[in-house]
């Protein structure tokens, strides 16, 4: 712990796999401006690549892989277990671009206890290696005996090697998918956590890196422990506690119940299956929510694994379509995909695409090498996962990701269900225009700003996800009025869909998410932002006063012992700074407003839904997203951000307002700044 740097360890690791050189450098210079997590990560990436004359590709040795924690990681603050990582992603389409991704469980806290706030891994080892960080001892070790193992076997093998009986060593590993450079391969931790989106496993594969194991016996000191305990306790109280949860939610992850009641309503009958087969909930470090759940169906090697959400259910719809109800097959498929290091979201895009291609006769069974009529059987899923992971036959093409696969075979592009940048469909832009903006403007699958916006309204949403919305229509309307001055902010009727207010809410959600959640680091999926002033008493009675996400900045200030978040705006300026820095990275990669788009079919295909309308009333919609209308909304968004409306690039004025003069200067040098 460096002097005067509470909440941080004060050290960052720099590991060069090519030369084997291991060095440290200080966190201190980054803290004031970039806080941690995604903020420092973007700056580290920027600093590492900005002197490079040419564009760095994902599989280049010089592509930096950054892992970061934040000031709250490993602290008593609830949901403080997540870890952020970033690199130039092989998965983003059409170009390989900088992208952050994150994962949960216990890796980040252990890294901090070992004495590091984060690390930059660069270079390429001459043989398979793994990295062991044991407090002050950092080793690059021969990993040839781990190469080829699935991610759970790799972890078990390392625990055994270290004689770590209680599995105190936290390991991040990639599976065979990463080794075979499958563009969507994940890096996994535990049985169920992983950075799936982005293909980070493949980046590791290209670096010959199999695993990073961390054991930390040190400590991280809070700047103001009494305040941290007090505020965290309040946050704990405001998040569910079993005595405040309905009796029926005991021990079962609350989110699971929400999610599965959703599946139930969709006719997927998940509830019965869940009741029968799941046992214990599993939580990340310091998290009261425990959104992972163990399924009592061992895999072929007898291992029990946990699952959650989409990761757990990418094959569910196919199975239900075939059998009329969920069978164990969908879980076994998911287990196999996880173990081999496949990204579940990729499968969510691949399967419908293959099915449509087969249906339209674009691809035959013989070309694919699978009997497409078998969709919904375990055999089909196993073969598909296997052929992608090991790049067998058509799997070699699919391993490039569905959008690239379509380009390779030269057909089927119009059938891709992907929304933007090579990421499969998730959430519904037809219903909510901020989601359309998120998809267009983010550098990745914009899951986290979506969570930010819709947790704010605690609706998920009333009417749309029956029974999971917490608030009444008039309460939702009240929140909108308090935060954005008008109930139009939650009005997604056809007339109001392109209203500039949605540009404002989109920016607000992006900044709040990247600043106060993904940089501090708190869970994006969890309960934040917490509006403490909204709920009082055990029964969380809604109290319609002035809402503000006050707990997060208070926790950061207590953990660091200084006024890091003091802009009076709950860290929004921090968030805006990070967002602009990430945009600057994208600008160097050649991103312009032309890339801020939605998949073509979204402007043509009609989709039904239920949304909040005027005054928070629940209404039904059936629409396409009008192209011109959306372009107008995009310009409103650029204006809101202070970006040039033609290029979608931040201006010098905007960057300087956000204390990013050095970034502006660098962009200016490269002639990238918009002309005033």
């Amino acid at each position: 712990m460096a002097k005067g740097l509470s909440g941080y360890t004060g050290r960052l690791l720099h590991i060069d796999l090519t030369t084997g050189k291991i060095e440290t450098f200080g966190t201190e210079p980054y803290v004031e401006r970039f806080l941690g997590g995604r903020g420092i990560m973007a700056k580290l990436h920027w600093d590492t690549i900005n002197h490079k004359p040419k564009r760095v590709a994902a599989f280049d040795a010089e592509n930096p892989f950054v892992i970061m924690t934040g000031p709250l990681t490993g602290s008593l603050a609830p949901t403080s277990g997540r870890t952020e990582c970033s690199t130039i992603s092989p998965m983003t389409y059409p170009d390989e671009c900088y992208m952050p991704s994150s994962f949960g469980l216990h890796f980040g806290p252990e890294l901090k206890f070992a004495g590091y706030d984060g690390m930059v891994i660069i270079g390429k080892a001459d043989r398979p290696v793994w990295i062991l960080i044991n407090d002050k001892k950092v080793q690059i070790r021969d990993g040839r005996h781990l190469w080829g193992l699935d991610m759970m076997d790799a972890q078990e093998s390392i625990w055994k090697e270290l004689s770590d009986r209680y599995r105190n060593t936290q390991i991040l590993a990639t599976g065979p998918a990463g080794e075979n450079l499958v563009r969507s391969a994940a890096i996994m931790h535990g049985t169920s956590a992983g950075a799936g989106q982005g293909g980070f496993g493949a980046v590791w594969g290209s670096k010959n890196l199999k695993a990073v194991a961390v054991r930390g016996t040190g400590s991280v000191k809070a700047g103001n422990p009494e305040a941290l305990m007090k505020i965290s306790k309040e946050a704990h109280r405001l998040i569910y506690r079993p005595d405040e949860r309905p009796e029926s939610w005991k021990n079962v992850s609350a989110f699971h119940r929400v999610g599965w009641s959703f599946y139930q309503k969709q006719g997927l009958k998940g509830w019965e299956w869940l009741k029968k087969n799941t046992s214990k909930a599993e939580a990340c470090f310091g998290c009261p929510l425990a959104c992972h759940i163990f399924v009592e169906i061992p895999d072929k090697k007898g291992r029990m694994t946990a699952g959650k959400c989409n990761q757990m259910s990418w094959y569910l719809k196919s199975v239900v379509a075939r059998h009329g109800k969920p069978t164990d097959d969908y879980w076994r498929a998911s287990q196999m995909g996880d173990a081999l290091g496949m990204n579940a979201f990729e499968m969510i895009g691949n399967i419908p695409w293959l099915a449509k291609c087969a249906k339209e006769g674009i691809l035959t069974d013989k070309e694919i090498g699978l009997k497409m009529a078998d969709i919904g059987t375990l055999d089909f899923a196993e073969k598909l996962v296997d052929m992608i992971t090991y790049r067998k036959g058509f799997g070699d093409i699919l391993a490039e990701g569905a959008p690239r696969a379509a380009d390779i075979i030269g057909k089927g592009q119009h059938l891709l269900p992907h929304f933007n940048r090579g990421f499969a469909q998730h959430w519904n832009p037809w219903a909510w225009s901020p989601i359309a903006l998120f998809w267009a403007t983010d550098n990745r699958h914009p899951q986290t700003p979506i969570h930010q916006l819709y947790w704010t309204f605690r609706m998920m949403t009333k009417g749309t996800y029956p029974k999971s919305g917490w608030l009444k229509e008039k309460e939702v309307a009240h929140i909108a009025k308090e935060l954005f001055g008008t109930t139009k902010a939650i009005d997604y009727s056809d007339e109001n869909y392109f209203d500039p207010i949605h540009a404002k809410t989109a920016k607000w959600a992006q900044d709040g998410d990247i600043g106060m959640k993904r940089s501090t680091i708190l869970c994006d999926y969890g309960p934040f932002p917490i509006y403490a002033s909204w709920f009082v008493g055990k029964e969380k009675k809604f109290r319609p006063e002035h809402p503000s996400p006050e707990l997060e900045p208070l926790m950061v200030n207590a953990a660091t012992g200084r006024e890091l978040i003091a802009d009076g705006n709950h860290g929004m300026k921090m968030g805006e700074r990070f967002w602009n820095l990430e945009r600057a990275i994208a600008m160097r990669e050649g991103r312009t407003s032309k890339d801020d788009k939605l998949a073509d079919y979204m402007h043509k295909k009609k989709k039904k839904g239920t949304v909040t309308g005027p005054g928070g009333k629940t209404i039904k919609i059936n629409r396409t997203i009008d192209r011109a209308g959306f372009e107008g909304l995009k310009i409103a968004y650029y204006k809101e951000r202070g970006w040039d409306v033609t290029t979608g690039h931040p201006t010098r004025k905007t960057l300087e307002r956000l204390d990013l003069k050095d970034v502006a200067d660098q962009l200016d040098k490269e002639n990238l700044l918009p002309k005033a």
Binding site: I22, M229, S279, K280, P288
Partner: protein, 253 residues
């Protein structure tokens, strides 16, 4: 294949040692822990010779006011108890090594059937009546906390010489030792029931750890190395009703 270290760096200790002083770590005797325990330390240390209280054939200690009783089926492995314990008892330091409760983890194994291991289980000190740790301490540093009224077995931080015999004794009885060792200060640490307000109970979001009064709960005991020690205070063992049924899923939401 034998493992081979290709590159290794042992980094300089650039953490200033003067920050990790007796004073900052000694929250055991500081305000944050509460007045009750502060009284104990003072009494033990100030009230004459600590060593004089050491006798080899000591009668069994007074039973604690309550026990930490676990329900592993509810434990999610989040380690909030551990971070709460270390933050509270070490003046704001979050650390897994300084926590006086331990959650062994096995993420690839899960079952909550009776008498079978589960993947995450909190393992705190059981406050044995005839505690092996107490009897092996060569300086009699482990005492009963009468002052706070909890009768917890506590380690006098001034008397502890860091020999780790208590840890070995506990390990031989329980496999997972319930006493932690603070390397920086060369002292052993153990659960002192936070002066009657155990923070692990206070913070566990799932009520997997409960503080149950001695009136309501009598721990079962076993013989280990000639000593009578408590068996894990575990609902799976101590409660009659079937926890699985009790925790069973409700009707469709």
């Amino acid at each position: 294949m034998t493992d081979q270290v290709l590159h290794e760096v042992v980094l300089d200790d650039d953490a200033p040692v003067d920050e990790i002083t007796e004073a900052t770590r000694r929250s055991f005797l500081q305000g944050i822990t509460g007045a009750g325990v502060a009284g104990v330390g003072a009494a033990l240390f100030g009230g004459g010779s600590v060593l004089s209280t050491f006798v080899s054939a000591r009668p069994a200690m007074a039973a604690p006011s309550g026990y930490l009783v676990m329900d592993p089926a509810l434990c999610t492995g989040c380690r909030t108890c551990m971070v709460a314990c270390s933050t509270y008892n070490n003046n704001g330091e979050a650390s897994m090594e300084l926590a006086r409760i331990f959650v062994p983890r096995n993420p690839t194994h899960s079952t909550w059937e009776r008498d079978k291991p589960v993947n995450y289980e909190p393992r705190p000190c059981l406050q044995c009546d005839d505690a092996p740790c107490v009897n092996v301490c060569p300086v009699g540093a482990i005492q009963t906390d009468h002052k706070s009224g909890t009768n917890a077995r506590v380690i006098d931080q001034h008397a502890c010489i860091g020999c780790r015999r208590c840890i070995d004794a506990c390990e031989s009885a329980y496999e997972i030792p319930r006493i932690q060792f603070d390397e920086a200060r060369n002292k052993a640490n153990k659960c002192h029931l936070c002066g009657g307000n155990p923070q692990c109970v206070n913070w566990c979001p799932n009520h997997a750890i409960n503080f149950v009064s001695t009136d309501e709960f009598t721990p079962r005991t076993k013989r280990s190395q000639g000593r009578t020690v408590n068996i894990e205070n575990d609902y799976r063992i101590v409660r009659n009703e079937d926890r699985i049924l009790e925790l069973g899923y409700p009707q469709e939401p």
